[in-house]
């Protein structure tokens, strides 16, 4: 009975709110789990401070699922007004003019553009036009178990800085039982195969002095020596027994959480989750360098759909601008680990207070100058799966690194060529 009253009350509240708010915006996002409460709180605060606009936030699955659903929504004509899109997926929708060019709003409010961190801003600019505002930008960091470092007699405040150091430390952190079975691994460089596939492997190619595509995005370069070399090194970590060969990414993360793996690359967007859930002392550091110091820049942005009315466009612009303002980007950073997107946030007093409370959040900000955006293309989801399958074939010993990347490059080049003829 009580439940029925509560539901009725909520419906009345929702209907009243929707009736009296001048503009209602439907906002699709991909933030689940521990990020959702922080996002919901921002949306709720926006609604409380903007009586004429009401935003309804709806979780639509991960980034890849959101792309699929948004494509379907365009076909059915039932699209949202604002959408959180992975920065690499923007091009999928700008190709068909489905995202609103924000140039008009930016020209009216030039201080907005100049305050975004330059490398983040570039990720939302396509053919010279901004199609979104950077929101949840992250970079890949080395997460390590400080407790295991201490147990092995290593300094927990001196994480590895190079591949060689990482291999040396990983060997020290790999422990075998008397029967020879490995009970603790020093490293797990897991690579995702589903959403954001191939994400963790990209920096290895760059760090080895290589590139994944040419600058005009017309040719895949993973068959070149730097990429093949990176793949050989990655495979050697399994071969030497410092990294478990038979674990997928999720299993690796579980083992890392249980203290069975000492180091691994993870997104900065997961730092707060790790701090709130791990049973041991977490260390976060820049990814180890090799020939170059690089990490991957990834994450999401907030875009407005081009088919919404001018009134809604204005309200949506107000919303996405508010979500990324200095105060809110710092709130988002402190509660998730996603990087602050504004220059003013990097120079703020609040960020220094945040670092005092959560020192593990600082290295991600220090990594920004070394963070390289992921390659983008309209068929990027398919391309990444080809690359991921290639490294999986190497991990399972089906192909040599040379064969796997040669075959993958040929498949990808075909896709890139077909795009040229479209």
């Amino acid at each position: 009975m009580k439940r029925s009253f509560l539901v009725l009350f909520m419906i009345i509240l929702l209907v009243t709110t929707l009736t009296f708010a001048n503009v209602t915006l439907v906002f699709w996002h991909s933030m689940s789990d521990y990020q959702k409460p922080a996002l919901d709180r921002l949306v709720s605060e926006f609604n409380a401070t903007h009586p004429n606009i009401h935003v309804v936030a709806i979780y639509e699955g991960n980034y890849d699922q959101t792309v699929t659903k948004l494509k379907a929504a365009f076909l059915s004509g039932n699209t949202p007004d604002v959408v959180q899109l992975n920065i690499e997926h923007l091009r999928i929708f700008t190709a068909n003019h489905q995202l609103l060019d924000l140039s008009k709003f930016i020209s009216e409010d030039p201080s907005v553009k100049s305050d975004f961190i330059n490398s983040f801003w570039k990720t939302v600019v396509i053919n010279g036009k901004p199609y979104a505002l950077p929101f949840n930008i992250s970079c890949l960091m080395l997460f390590y178990n400080k407790d295991l470092f201490r147990k092995a007699g290593l300094d927990p405040n001196k994480p590895p800085k190079t591949w060689k150091e990482m291999e040396k430390i990983a060997k020290k952190l790999t422990i075998r039982a008397p029967n020879g079975r490995i009970i603790q691994y020093g490293l797990f460089w897991g690579v995702s195969g589903e959403d954001t596939a191939f994400y963790q492997f990209e920096p290895l190619i760059w760090q080895n002095g290589g590139r994944i595509f040419n600058s005009s995005m017309t040719k895949c370069l993973v068959d070149q020596p730097p990429a093949v070399g990176a793949l050989k090194t990655w495979k050697s970590w399994f071969k030497e027994g410092i990294s478990p060969a038979n674990m997928n990414l999720q299993e690796g993360i579980q083992a890392f959480m249980m203290g069975k793996i000492a180091m691994g690359p993870m997104t900065s967007g997961g730092i707060r989750y790790a701090l709130d859930n791990l049973p041991w002392d977490l260390g976060v550091a820049m990814l180890p360098s090799h020939k170059a110091t690089v990490t991957t820049l990834g994450g999401g942005s907030l875009a407005i759909l081009s088919n919404v009315s001018p009134k809604k466009q204005k309200a949506a612009w107000e919303f996405i601008k508010w979500m990324t303002n200095t105060k809110n980007t710092l709130y988002w950073y402190e509660n998730t680990g996603y990087l602050p997107v504004r220059k003013s946030a990097l120079n703020s007093l609040q960020i220094k207070i945040i670092w005092k409370r959560f020192p593990q959040l600082k290295p991600a900000v220090e990594a920004i100058p070394y963070a390289r955006p992921r390659p983008v293309n309209v068929d990027i989801i398919e391309i990444r799966h080809i690359l991921f399958n290639a490294i999986e074939e190497v991990r399972h010993g089906i192909k040599t690194p040379e064969e796997a990347f040669k075959d993958a490059a040929q498949k990808i080049d075909k896709i890139l060529k077909s795009e040229e003829t479209k």
Partner: protein, 391 residues
């Protein structure tokens, strides 16, 4: 002359400290519709001319957040023309009026920031009674208290209750009584996490069997509020309480309570409590500490044990779950928390022996609702008992 020179030097140094570069020359507070600015400045421990010191400012922000008055605090600096700063503190105030429900005191309301002075006010109207259920006007209870009055380190407490037909249930006695109680207390917060308080309690009790009697007692309480360790996984808090009866009834009651929370992995936790009680002398029934009620030993008769010396250890293991019964990854996502609970009490009665130990085991479920935590628990000790609490 010496005094004049010294005063001039002091004034010179003082003005230097105020106008030295990199100092905070003023504070601008935004977003406070209720809480007074001076209260916020006191809570922050702001001193005019203080240097921009991240440690102190981080402590100031933590003090504001832990005051319970604000849901969000944001600090920024505005540079002035002479290399100094204005500190801008933006706060979001929490809702500070909430309804109250108490089986003994009735229904009431709480204002947690009275006139914006960081003072808590509570008022109850005793208008019902369970077993047998009766709607009646049975008195009132009002109180004012503050952990940090006006944001200063001083605490105070004032309470007045006039409650009629209160049920007393114990194994060998059931009766009703009328209670008039006045409590006054003064305290001091030693730091953000520790406080001390001295109270005077006056009670006037009348029961069907005695005409009436009065209690005059003085008490001392030392409390250490939850302190989080560096890695965010453990909290410890404890309190010591000693009360001494004066005038016609001489008695001493003492309690020591230590609690420890440890997050095992994910959000799974264990929480332990060690609670010791001393009932010494002719302790009036309203002041005596009993085991067998909702707050201590469960699974036994209400107030079954009231021995001079009693100890209780409680261990709870909880596994927070989301609304869809998945494993919760953050406190904000938690809706249900099943708990496995074990209790072991030591009750000193006569000779020391196995019968002095009273065990019980229980299962609990914490349900997060918009109105607070609803916590049903089932315990087995001497018998099976169901407990319902709203926290």
């Amino acid at each position: 002359m010496k005094k004049v020179i010294l005063s001039l030097i002091f004034i010179f140094l003082f003005s230097l400290s105020i106008f030295a570069a990199n100092s905070i020359v003023s504070v601008q507070v935004q977003g406070n519709t209720c809480t007074k600015k001076f209260v916020i400045l006191n809570l922050m421990n702001y001193k005019k001319g203080m240097k921009v010191d991240i440690d102190k400012l981080a402590a100031a922000q933590t003090a504001l957040e832990s005051s319970g008055l604000f849901s969000n605090v944001y600090m920024s600096l505005k540079a002035t023309s002479n290399d100094n700063y204005v500190l801008v503190v933006s706060v979001e105030e929490k809702n500070h009026i909430s309804p109250l429900f108490d089986l003994e005191k009735g229904i009431g309301v709480e204002e947690s920031d009275l006139f914006g002075f960081e003072i808590k006010a509570k008022a109850f109207l005793r208008c019902f009674r369970f077993s047998p259920f009766e709607l009646f006007l049975g008195g009132y209870s009002i109180g004012l208290s503050s952990r940090r009055a006006f944001g200063t380190p001083f605490s105070f407490e004032l309470q007045r209750s006039e409650l009629k037909k209160l049920p007393w249930t114990a194994p060998n006695s059931n009766f009703q009584y009328n209670l008039l109680r006045t409590t006054t207390g003064m305290g001091y917060m030693l730091n953000e996490n520790a406080g001390i308080m001295i109270r005077y309690v006056y009670e006037d009790i009348s029961t069907p069997t005695t005409t009436h009697f009065t209690v005059n007692a003085l008490s001392l309480e030392i409390r250490v509020y939850p302190v989080q360790n560096e890695n965010n996984r453990n909290y410890t808090w404890w309190e010591l309480y000693v009360e001494h009866g004066m005038n016609n009834i001489n008695y001493t009651v003492g309690t020591a309570n230590v609690e420890f929370y440890h997050r095992i992995i994910g959000q799974i936790y264990f929480r332990s409590r060690l609670y010791g009680v001393l009932n010494y002398g002719n302790v009036p029934f309203t002041r005596k500490i009993y085991f067998g009620d909702t707050y201590n030993l469960k699974g036994y008769d209400t107030r079954e044990f009231g021995a001079p010396l009693m100890l209780l250890s409680t261990l709870r293991i909880g596994m927070p779950l989301t609304s869809t019964f998945g494993i919760s990854k953050s406190p904000e996502l938690t809706t249900y928390t099943p708990e496995l609970i074990s209790q072991l009490a030591f009750v000193k009665r006569g000779n020391f022996g196995l019968e002095s130990f009273k065990p019980s085991i229980g299962l609990g479920l914490k349900i997060n609702t918009p109105f607070g935590n609803f916590e049903p628990e089932i315990f087995y000790g001497k018998k099976l008992e169901l407990y319902l609490e709203m926290k």
